[in-house]
Symmetry: C2
Subunit: 650 residues, 2 copies
């Protein structure tokens, strides 16, 4: 840092017509690389931005193998250091999440129109798989509300869970298989960035909408209605509810209301005091036990309280014979797998990242995708439906002091014991308590403070959020999501087609040039129009930029007629033009030609390496890149060209 | 411009540890605007970048009406100044393009599987409409090869031109109607930028592919095959040609070869000497006359030479009763209208812009779209199929000295005379000469020099070009086009998800910081990692940027262990971050939190107005935007923080 400014403010402050002597620095081209090297570099930046193989560098072959195995099976990394203290913590947290997982599993399976026991199957095998492959220490794995809702609503389009339960099961397992395959492929092909297209705004709107749709479905259980609509939207559900008022059962409503209030209060307590996490974690199981006992003792099922009924017991039966990869439903199954796969992946990765950031460890997104994907593929062959890391359960796991994925193993063992011995106890569990558990769980998905924050920061994002929300509520869960993603991408493309161009002015007393709109002090240099283009120049915007720059020139000329000075130079600051394509090259050639006809010179400032290279290649005679038309900074360009002006108008 | 550098090179050249005294300039926020003002401004930039109402400002009401009428009907602009000299030029060029339009019209109609006379109808009404509404002085309007091919190949999917000619005609007129409606709406809604998505590379590949497909279709006429495939692809056409060798007619081949060579030679002459434009312009008509006479005199139609046969005559009959807006074909008709509409619009606008640039006048893209759209809507009710400004014919028009759209009127009148009186003369015109005319016309669409230029400039664009080319040849015309557009947009989105981040270094002897990779002299300042982010930060890239910056830090730390200096500051140069969204705001908050844990400070440099505003709104406590973390230039940030470092490691 040897350069210094010698300040010279005051005397010339309102007289910009001062000759400036300044050393001129050369604009350099980056070192030559072949197209192959460039391609390699581009691919690395695209697919391996996190450089996952960094740790393998400079290791012995044996060490590389070991690291490789540890990379694939993270359990080999932390397993050898596992000790009794960690185990104690994991047992406590494992039992805690099991007490939550069992009632939630049964409830969510019902949300997906599946037999309740599938919720427990899905809380047994997948957590074991994840414990071996996953790299998050806090993720509690199992079925989740939104993926269950999605699967239920999508599969019901082609198969009735009541009329054709076997077909429905086949579709569920096959979709789960495809979801897992898709998730693992995303991770394996390092295409994990696809889930980034679900922006924060989209997710908040989508989750809130889904929470309302899920809660509305629970009105069936909470009001005791028997003839409930099979549709999901706000309008059909409300109309179904109010057209069947005579089916409402006051006993159900009373009991449902009681448990709902109880669960919401315990939830509120745990939010206020995170140390009391066990209050909300234990409440669902307590509610199930109390309500089941109540029904059993008072024979309430004879008084309009509907109960789960007889359940199977025993461990997960194999289900690979239920997977069907052909036939007329393959389209639906692929679509369901794709959508539930992406949504559950988004939840799982977000949960993993959140808790990793809290505890300051790294979670590799692509690796997690493979873990979650393999877990679902294995799950689909062992009677499980789609699972992922659940937000609420992972929070409980974290608060309960989970140290490693062993807490998932403890949970799985507890669920196993339940499956083997305790299933008959659920026979008298009333459906209303499952409804209350679901509503309590999904209420947390409505994040009003985040919505307000988005309103404050970005109105367009708020529109995206609202479109996801209303799309889910009034159209359908998938279409609402697609709508929001579509609008987000449309905005991005629109941003590319309409890049910003700003007029720069000189900040007095410096050789700094900044946006004249933002910096009110910045002054125009007579005879110079200085523009900064702030996007890659490509086919999508080269026509626009041409028109826009000509308009800036017209604007300038209108002002000029007042100040009697002619436009002599258009200086383009290209610092922010990170790339150009063939159309971009033509844009420069065309602009130069048009300006020449007007007697105006085009000067380029600070092009990045790629832009330099492409202009050189296209421009045989190097007209655009003559030394007198190419500068390192706007200041140098102005001072050099200013001194070369023969007649200065002032 | 009062600031000056006082050069100080040499002594400190290899010792970057020098205290720097420098005045610090404040980063300003742009003047406050309401969300509504911002929205208004954004909409203006998106839809009215060319400020079309500029000329209306400050005019009297009467003047405004006059300007308004002139705006809608450009003929009112140039009409009053029209004189005999202009008329003489226009008559010459009008007659020249008529001699080209008549044989081409007949040929292109056959390419679209339509009755030949439709090609003449379409060269009569649309040019008259364009003369009133269009603002280009050089455009010669009529049917064109690619749109004809597209319409023919798409409509044949659902209707046979031979078995059900009435239905086929109905579909053609209705598609033309929708194409026109769509074109006019694009212009009216100022969505003209949609055609920008057809990049130069896409168009070159597509046109070359289409030229080959079109030429292949002419093998039927040029070889005299009667049982020709109805498919378009390279493979089925070649197999059809070589499976029917016994249908080849040597008389046809000989005569076809003769006229093809003749036409290609005349084309070559006119390209070499533009003054001899009339050689290639007159050759098709001459070929038609000579070949027709030949057939008539020698009764060649009895010797295997197929001829057009009896044609209708008379002016365009009305066809609004043929338009059908419902029924089972509506989907195909809409799709055909959309695709042929966009493609022909692209050709028309490109032609208009090219010649306007040559003669230095402006063509308003959106207005041209309305003109072309209205022309097609009117055409669809007067037995015309889709028309636009044709490249080859407009070039002839330009070379023949056309001054205004009156040359289109002269052409239309000539065609009218032909329709009324000369149609019986075409009865003996052999099909082979039409095939030769088409091949000669489309050969010019294969632009090898442009393809080579694209290969030199941008390898990715070259891939886009190839995919359009091979897609058209091997898959289908529409799908090849869709493929190339899809790849182009995918590249754009990928560019957004993987923005460039570059490490900056100080250029010795200055306070300028530039890409260390591009400027080999640039030196690192110990303790500082200076990064420039070169894209808007949004949901699509915030996760990537986070990972990538952490990797830069790891890279830095690896080097550091060698040089024994700790990373103290991460400076982000935000000059090129033209916008952020809600995810972008979170990116900064998250990055700051992570860096804090590492004991590293985050310093922001030169954020643009919008970024400043959003960070302020999101960041209640202004942690991110404290004066000590926010600077106007990288130089100021470094010098200020450098002097604040208590312990300097050197």
């Amino acid at each position: 840092m040897e350069g210094k400014f010698e300040e010279d403010i005051g005397s010339h402050h309102h007289d910009p017509c001062v000759e400036i002597a300044m050393e001129i620095h050369k604009v350099e081209t980056p070192p030559k690389r072949s197209s192959l090297q460039k391609l390699k570099n581009r691919l690395k930046e695209t697919f391996f931005p996190d450089d996952p193989l960094r740790q393998f560098k400079g290791q012995s072959t044996k060490q590389k193998w070991l690291l490789g195995f540890q990379y694939i099976f993270p359990i080999l990394q932390w397993g050898p250091h596992y000790n009794l203290n960690l185990f104690k913590s994991d047992v406590v947290s494992g039992l805690t999440i099991a007490s939550l997982a069992i009632p939630q599993g049964i409830s969510y399976a019902k949300l997906a129109n599946l037999p309740p026991i599938l919720g427990l199957y899905s809380s047994f095998v997948p957590p074991l798989v994840y414990a071996v492959l996953g790299s998050s220490r806090d993720l509690a794995v199992g079925p989740v509300s939104i993926a269950s809702l999605l699967m239920g609503s999508m599969l019901r389009q082609e198969a009735s869970p009541n009329l054709d339960p076997i077909l429905y099961l086949q579709l569920a397992f096959t979709s789960t298989f495809f979801a897992g395959l898709f998730q693992a492929s995303l991770g394996f092909l390092r295409l994990g960035f696809i889930i980034d297209f679900l922006s924060k705004a989209t997710l908040i709107g989508f989750m809130a909408g889904a929470a309302i749709i899920v809660s509305l479905q629970q009105l069936k259980a909470l009001l005791g209605i028997t003839h409930f609509t099979k549709e999901m939207g706000l309008v059909p559900v409300m109309s179904s509810v109010f057209h069947n008022t005579k089916e409402w059962s006051w006993q159900t409503i009373l009991m449902g209301f009681f448990f709902l209030v109880f669960l919401l209060v315990t939830r509120h307590i745990s939010i206020k005091k995170p140390k009391l996490f066990w209050v909300s974690a234990g409440a669902p199981l307590l509610s199930v036990v109390v309500s089941t006992l109540f029904v059993f003792v008072f024979k309430a099922q004879r008084h309009g309280i509907s109960v789960i009924g007889k359940l199977d017991h025993g461990l997960n039966p194999p289900s690979w014979n239920m997977l069907h990869f052909h036939g007329s439903h393959i389209g639906l199954v692929l679509k369901t797998g794709l959508i539930t796969g992406i949504i559950s992946l988004t939840e799982g990765i977000a949960v993993g990242r959140t808790f990793a950031a809290l505890k300051n460890y790294q979670v590799d997104g692509n690796k997690e995708m493979i873990a979650i994907g393999v877990m679902n593929v294995v799950g689909s062959t062992t009677s499980c439906y789609i699972t992922t890391g659940a937000f609420s359960r992972s929070a409980v796991n974290h608060n309960a002091g989970a140290k490693t994925a062993v807490s998932n193993i403890i949970m799985a063992v507890t669920v196993m014991v339940t499956l083997l011995f305790l299933m008959p106890l659920f026979q008298y569990t009333p459906n209303l308590v499952l409804g209350a558990i679901i509503v309590t769980a999904v209420v947390g998905l409505i994040d009003l403070p985040a919505a307000y924050q988005i309103w404050k920061v970005d109105k367009f994002d708020f529109v995206v959020m609202l479109s996801a929300f209303f799309g889910v509520i009034f159209i359908s869960v998938e279409e609402g999501l697609a709508l929001a993603v579509g609008i987000s991408i449309f905005k991005m493309v629109l941003q590319m087609t309409r890049p910003k161009t700003v007029v720069l002015g000189n900040i007095p007393g410096t050789d700094i040039f900044r946006n004249k709109h933002q910096y009110k002090d910045a002054v125009t240099i007579p005879g110079f129009l200085i523009l900064s283009i702030q996007a890659p120049i490509s086919f999508a915007n080269s026509n626009y930029l041409n028109e826009r720059i000509l308009r800036w020139i017209l604007d300038y000329e209108e002002e000029e007629t007042k100040s009697h000075s002619d436009l002599r130079f258009v200086i383009l600051d290209l610092a922010a033009v990170s790339a150009i394509d063939a159309n971009g090259v033509m844009f420069f050639q065309e602009l130069r030609r048009v300006l020449e006809k007007k007697g105006v010179e085009l000067v380029l400032v600070n092009p990045v390496g790629e832009v330099m290279e492409k202009l050189q290649k296209a421009d045989g005679t190097h007209d655009l890149l003559q030394p007198s038309n190419l500068y390192l900074t706007v200041g140098e360009a102005v001072s050099s060209r200013f001194s070369s002006m023969k007649v200065v108008s002032c």
